[in-house]
Amino acid sequence: MSLKHDIEFTLNGVKRRVQVDVTMNALAMLRDVIGLTGTKYGCGEGECGACTIQVDGVSLNSCLMFAVDCDGREVTTIEGLANDPQADALRDAFVEHGAVQCGFCTPGMVMQADHILHKHEHPDEGCVKRGLEGNLCRCTGYKKIVDAVVACGATEK
């Protein structure tokens, strides 16, 4: 039926090879082909950020990316942040500041926040809010998420 293609890329530090449908997006590949479910589907249209991953060091919406386009690239998902000390601090900040309620937006928020903290030494509130503008959260009202990221940036490095 649908056209398949073999790709090879680095996922969370480990090289791997997978066969994907050419029309499939990276989100579906991660969740359904590879079985990593930390990256979430919230809209499939780039509007919610629940599917945020990092590719070659920048954050992207995996739902807006063709899976085949992962070929040769370095992809990090929320699962890949497990062994990263800066990410540990960020996760702790989320927990400590009450930035998590239902938690559905949280993996995407953490991935994007991690990207913000890599880009900006000590981001202020305004910078964090703008940085998170592509991540929707229906529960928290964002304030505690922003607080967590700002606090993490203030103590880090």
Binding site: V22, L60, N61, L64, F66, D69, H115
Partner: protein
């Protein structure tokens, strides 16, 4: 419609335009338009899906003579952070800052924004007022052929351009503005970004002792394509930017556009905003 048969990721421009020869190719750049459009069935794939992201000739931002060339693959983030753009084209940085979200700015390319040809495309308005030209490449016979055309003549309708099916956009070229050049961009909305423009406005020109010349005015989301507002430009050309001129130009602008009603706003409101914001921006320009 043919069914998707091939996936191809060329590593040179020659390979790419060669592949484009039969015109039965869907081009993939950042994918931020193509992914949702294809997944929702709004576009059908052609015979081949060609990923152009591995073509070196399409990237980079460089100063070439008195022009700045932005490669088609330059992402919105790269553009807004690039020193050349920051220095010479602050109005483009401004527009990029109102573009989608960080994640999409990291993925979306200027070539994609141009080829998607949305009437609300955010880089298109500053590019229009900056007199940008679109660079195109193709392979009519066996040789690479490159040419360019003014962006102002490139768009023909929503999602439709004068680019042929065999052509690839390789970049945009923007003349380096003169020292007394001023340019402004405004996108109407309640969010800083991640919002499709209800209307957007770009104004540019050279300011000499309070007089504006080489005036460029462009509007987004008021017509099937982003448009230059020639009557408004004429009303401003060579005139001192005083309150009377500004009011007159704003009124002409309102009459010049013919927007539609949609879920985001009514035509009436769009016209009102064209008037009010044109006036507001011109006021800012007058003070520059």
């Amino acid at each position: 419609m043919t069914e998707l048969k091939h996936y191809y990721a060329p590593t040179s421009l020659d390979q790419a335009v060669e592949c484009l020869k039969d015109g039965d190719v869907t081009i993939l750049a950042g994918g931020t338009d193509l992914t949702p459009q294809s997944q929702a069935g709004r576009i059908k794939f052609k015979h081949t899906l060609m990923n152009i992201r591995h073509i070196p000739q399409l990237s980079g931002i460089t100063l070439e003579g008195d022009e700045i060339r932005i490669g088609a693959l330059a992402t919105i983030t790269e553009i807004m952070e690039h020193p050349l753009v920051k220095q010479h084209l602050p109005v483009l940085v401004e527009a990029c800052d109102h573009f989608a979200s960080d994640q999409i700015r990291n993925a979306g390319t200027i070539g994609g924004n141009i080829c998607n040809a949305s009437p609300a495309g955010d880089t298109l308005i500053p590019l229009l007022v900056l007199d940008a030209r679109v660079e195109l490449a193709s392979m009519p016979e066996d040789k690479l052929y490159r040419h360019s055309m003014p962006l102002s003549t490139f768009f023909v309708g929503p999602g439709k351009t004068r680019k042929s099916l065999c052509e690839l956009v390789t970049g945009v070229r923007i003349p380096v503005p003169a020292a007394n050049h001023v340019a402004r961009f405004y996108k109407l909305g309640t969010r800083p970004a991640l919002d499709i423009s209800t209307i957007s406005i770009g104004v540019a020109g050279c300011l000499n002792g309070g007089v504006l010349s080489q005036v460029r005015v462009a509007f987004g989301a008021v017509a099937p394509t982003p448009v230059r507002a020639e009557q408004t430009e004429q009303a401003l050309e060579g005139k001192p930017l005083d309150a009377a001129t500004i009011e007159k130009a704003a009124a002409i602008a309102r009459d010049e556009v013919h927007p539609i009603d949609d879920v985001r706003a009514s035509a009436w409101y769009r016209k009102e905003m064209i008037h009010n914001i044109t006036k507001r921006i011109l006021g800012h320009v007058a003070q520059a």
